[in-house]
Structure formats: structure tokens, C-alpha cells
């Protein structure tokens, strides 16, 4: 399996569906240590991203994800809009785009790993969070590490994506005992301890969606 345009689109659709389904939980998590809008923020963003895809065909997977990133930046707002927006733009830019490159050499697991890593770099550059700050970074970092390790060990795209999803889930759960040091939750100080971070949770949804669409 290659990371081609249909797969990119399927990923975005799967994220949109997951966000729709989990909107309530994301909002609930954000109410506990934030301002209760993370679910509706992402829902607004990914439904706009879906709509934006329709005007794009035919485009490469990189163009699809770049467009998703731009749409998120334009529609979400809040902390997660620029962060996820920049991430998808970076992933899109880093993915070998068949429209530009040799169409017979589509992105394999290693190239996808580097593209996902570029997304993480974008998040860290903009948000300046480090692992342990109780943010998106805490799910994204282990997910990239797992994806990269699997790809390096010769895994297929579905296998690497599944490993990344597992790691992201674990990373999200591991935010529970952390004290937030970035974003709105940091105002809570010690009172942020004991709650799972909404952004890390949505990052896990993103990676789970990738695993789902590559597996099927």
C-alpha cells in the first residue's frame, strides 16, 4: 500500500468521522482543564477540510494534506487550529507528491514517517512545547517514534500506522498524571493533574484514523 491521493483523502474523511463521533468527549476533556471547545473546534475544522477536498481533484496526497492544513488554519482558531494546521501543511509539503515526482515511486513507509515527523516539528516550532508539557506533543512524539521504528524495521504502511496509533493512544493516556505547562490548562497548575489532555487525545484519534484507513 502506498500513500496516494485516495489514501490521503480517506485519512481526512476518517479523521472527520472520528472527530464527529468523539466531539463530545473532546469537549468534556477540554471543559475539565480548558474552555470546552476542543471538540467543536476540530469538528468545524475537519468538516471544512472535507468540503475543501471536493475542489481539489486530481491532486497528489501532499496537496491534499497541505490543503487540509490551510483549511484548519483558516477555520479552527484557538490553539489547536494553528498547531494542527501547520502540522498538516508540513506533512503535505514533505510527502513526495506524485504530481511532481516520478508517479511510479509513491511514498513508502519511510517517506511517510519523515513527513509525519515534519508535522511534529511544525507543532513544536510554533507551540514550543516539549514532551511532558501535557499537549499534542505528548501523543505525537511517541507516534512518530513508533512509526519511524516500524518503517525502519521494514514494516508495511498499515503495520507502521498501527504501531503509531498504539503509541499515540498510550501517549495520550500518559498525559493524565502530568501537570500542564503549556496552553490553557497550564493556568490550573496542580489542578491539571489527573485529567487527560484533549489535544493529545485528538492526536491519538488522528493516528488511529490513519491506522484504520491503511488497514482496510
Amino acid at each position: 500500500m502506498d500513500f496516494d491521493t485516495p489514501l490521503a483523502e480517506a485519512w481526512v474523511r476518517a479523521i472527520a468521522a472520528a472527530v464527529e463521533k468523539e466531539q463530545g468527549r473532546l469537549t468534556e476533556l477540554d471543559s475539565a482543564i480548558g474552555d470546552g471547545d476542543h471538540g467543536s473546534n476540530l469538528r468545524r475544522g475537519f468538516s471544512a477540510a472535507l468540503a475543501a477536498l471536493d475542489g481539489l481533484r486530481p491532486a497528489g496526497p501532499g496537496a491534499v494534506l497541505t490543503k487540509v492544513g490551510s483549511t484548519l488554519i483558516s477555520k479552527v482558531g484557538g490553539a489547536s487550529g494553528p498547531l494542527y494546521g501547520k502540522a498538516f501543511r508540513a506533512i503535505g509539503a514533505a510527502l513526495p507528491d506524485p504530481a511532481l515526482a516520478d508517479p511510479t515511486d509513491p511514498a513508502g513507509p519511510a517517506a511517510v514517517a519523515e513527513a509525519l515527523a515534519a508535522g511534529l516539528d511544525a507543532v513544536r516550532t510554533l507551540g514550543k512545547a516539549v514532551p511532558g508539557d501535557k499537549t499534542i506533543v505528548d501523543a505525537y512524539t511517541p507516534a512518530v517514534a513508533a512509526f519511524r521504528a516500524a518503517a525502519g524495521a521494514g514494516a508495511t504502511l498499515p503495520e507502521a500506522a498501527a504501531a503509531a496509533a498504539e503509541a499515540a493512544d498510550q501517549g495520550a493516556r500518559d498525559t493524565v498524571p502530568l501537570q500542564a505547562r503549556k496552553g490553557r490548562a497550564s493556568y490550573l497548575g496542580e489542578r491539571s493533574i489527573g485529567h487527560q489532555d484533549p489535544g493529545a487525545t485528538s492526536t491519538a484519534l488522528l493516528f488511529r484514523a490513519l491506522a484504520d484507513v491503511t488497514a482496510s
Binding site: 469537549t27 471543559s31 480548558g34 474552555d35 470546552g36 471547545d37 471538540g39 467543536s40 473546534n41 468545524r44 488554519i73 483558516s74 477555520k75 479552527v76 482558531g77 484557538g78 490553539a79 489547536s80 487550529g81 494553528p82 498547531l83 510554533l126 507551540g127 501537570q179 505547562r181 503549556k182 496552553g183 490553557r184 497550564s186 493556568y187 490550573l188 497548575g189 489542578r191
Partner: protein
């Protein structure tokens, strides 16, 4: 949840339609979510643009008009606006003298305005950003996102708006904004939590006899919870908390903003202000100017915030300068 809305999704758009209908002196670009003055300035003047999540009305749209903001960019409820809004606003109101962005210090606001400033710079606009971070409830340390921007925003917007109106250059307007912010401290107490239309239930549960001390304007919980006490005691606590953090000496003058968080009757705000004024007098601080009412709200949250800005002749003069906006008017 009982709200006077059509749907949670259409809150911002529907409210902007109402603003457009109510204020012919403003231009409301509903698709782009930008509120500007209907009348453009005669010559080049620095454009003062502010923005932030909705739910804090009249902030910011209510402060657009001669003597204050050139444009406001309202985000979704409690969600910072997107860079496209600030770019559209900047392009709509800039008149060759540059643009000042007034940004409350929240991660989302900071990042979105940062992206907007990049985009505006790409378009050749000169942009300065003034960060407002006045809320003493949050420790400003490397362990937090820094102090939140709350009530001082009104003072920053008023002062920079007045100075820009007089033709001051970009750097001077931005420097003034930073000076007003540095001279300001705020602290808030909530009696109830706000309910966003999207969440449909209060942001936090507060027992019938407890209050949240040091709360944020999005319902970010505060320093602690405690039992409700008489207004006199709460006012004293708020004043003392601010003074503990403020470089004020007996004899100093302040501008005091006693701000309602949305659902507290004006009658009670005046009671609180009376007690605040009494406490400030006890502490030797003179209130040179005051403003009591709902200016930086948090939807239907009950409670109040106090902002104290150290006054000096220039600030007082700018505070008293004419302004003609929906929420603040002075001849």
C-alpha cells in the same frame, strides 16, 4: 441549557447579523467575521485592530469606532479568531501608517495573531503586536503560558485608539499599548460558571455556597475555591491581591475598571465597586477615573473582575479623549 440562540453552530454569524442591524455606523463583514468602522479615516492613521474569542461582549466589536478600535475580529465562542480574519481586517482598515494588533495572552490568540502578522508582513504591511497579560491569578513563569489577558484590554484599546486617532506613529502607539498593559493588573471572582452553547452545560461545577477565586474569562478555574463571603470581604481580597502584585504606593492614582462577568446585576456591581473604592481609600490609593459595568464578560458567568491601571497625566488624558463606539462613548 437555556440560551437565546438559533443553533450552537450559528451563534457567531447570527450575532454578527444583529450587530450589523443595530449599528449602521459599523461595517460588518459576516463571511470574513470582521467588524470595522463604516467611515474610513481622512488621512493615514495607525489602524488599531483587536480580536479574540466571542462570548466577552462588548469586547471587542463594541469598541470599534472613532477614538478606539478600527477593526475587531471575533472568533467562535471562547475560541481565538483565525489569521484570515486579522489579515482581512488589516487590509480593510490600514491606511498607510501601519497596524497594531492587540492580543490577549492565550496560546491560541498568540499563535493565530502571529500567523496573521506573518501574512500581513508578506503583503507589505507594517505590523506591531501588543500583548495584554494583566491577570494576577496566573503566575507568570516558565511553567505556564503566562498571565492571561483580561480587563486591561479595554484600557489598552482605549489608550492606543485615542493616540492613533491623533496621528501618532506606529511605534509610539504600540509602545503606549505596552505601557498601559504594564501599568495594569486584574483579578476576578466567579459566583457561577459560564455555559458555552457548544458544551451546553457549565464549564465547572460550583456548589451553591462557593465561589471561584482568580477565575479566567473562559471559565478557566482560578487559584482556589472558597465559601461565598459578603461583597465587602471579596472586594477587599481582590484589591489586596492586585496591590500585592502592583507597583503602587500610597498617593498613587489609578483608573479602576469594575467589570461584570455577564450575569451579575449592575446593582451588585455598584455594591462591589463601593467596597472596592472604600478599600482602595484605606490603602491610600486614589481612584482618578472609574468604569463600572459589563465590558469584558464571560457569557453568563456571574461575578466580577477588577482592573487597576496606574494613572499618569498622559493616560488620563487619553482615557478622557473622545470616543464613539457602541459600548463606550465620551464627548
Amino acid at each position: 441549557m437555556k440560551k437565546l440562540i438559533n443553533t450552537p453552530e450559528s451563534v457567531l454569524e447570527d450575532a454578527l447579523a444583529g450587530v450589523a442591524a443595530a449599528h449602521p455606523e459599523l461595517t460588518v463583514d459576516i463571511p470574513n467575521r470582521v467588524i470595522t468602522r463604516a467611515a474610513r479615516p481622512a488621512g493615514p492613521k495607525v489602524a488599531v485592530i483587536s480580536g479574540g474569542g466571542s462570548g466577552h461582549e462588548p469586547l471587542h466589536g463594541g469598541f470599534v469606532g472613532p477614538g478606539m478600535l478600527d477593526a475587531a475580529c471575533p472568533g467562535e465562542v471562547f475560541t481565538s479568531p483565525v489569521p484570515d480574519q486579522m489579515l482581512a481586517a488589516a487590509k480593510a482598515v490600514e491606511s498607510g501608517a501601519g497596524v497594531v494588533f492587540i492580543v490577549k495572552n492565550y496560546t491560541g490568540d498568540v499563535m493565530n495573531f502571529e500567523l496573521a502578522a506573518e501574512l500581513a508582513a508578506e503583503e507589505g504591511l507594517a505590523v506591531r503586536t501588543v500583548l495584554v497579560d494583566d491577570d494576577v491569578a496566573v503566575e507568570d513563569s516558565t511553567w505556564t503560558a503566562g498571565r492571561r489577558g483580561t480587563g486591561a484590554t479595554v484600557l489598552v484599546e482605549k489608550a492606543t485608539g485615542a493616540l492613533a486617532e491623533r496621528g501618532a506613529p506606529l511605534d509610539e502607539v504600540a509602545a503606549l499599548g505596552e505601557r498601559v498593559n504594564a501599568a495594569s493588573r486584574s483579578f476576578a471572582i466567579a459566583l457561577t460558571a459560564a455555559t458555552t452553547p457548544a458544551a451546553g452545560k457549565p464549564g465547572f461545577d460550583l456548589p451553591e455556597d462557593e465561589i471561584e477565586v482568580g477565575v479566567g474569562i473562559h471559565g478557566e478555574p482560578g487559584r482556589r475555591r472558597e465559601k461565598l463571603r459578603p461583597a465587602r470581604a471579596l472586594a477587599a481580597e481582590v484589591v489586596d491581591t492586585i496591590l500585592a502584585d502592583h507597583h503602587l504606593a500610597p498617593g498613587d492614582e489609578v483608573i479602576a475598571l469594575l467589570n461584570g462577568l455577564g450575569a451579575t446585576p449592575l446593582l451588585e456591581l455598584y455594591i462591589a465597586y463601593g467596597e472596592v473604592a472604600a478599600r482602595l481609600a484605606e490603602r491610600g490609593i486614589t481612584v482618578a477615573r472609574s468604569l463600572v459595568g459589563n465590558y469584558v464578560t464571560s457569557l453568563d458567568m456571574a461575578g466580577f473582575s477588577l482592573t487597576l491601571t496606574k494613572a499618569d497625566p498622559q493616560l488620563l488624558e487619553l482615557w478622557d479623549a473622545p470616543v464613539d463606539t457602541p459600548a463606550l462613548k465620551r464627548a
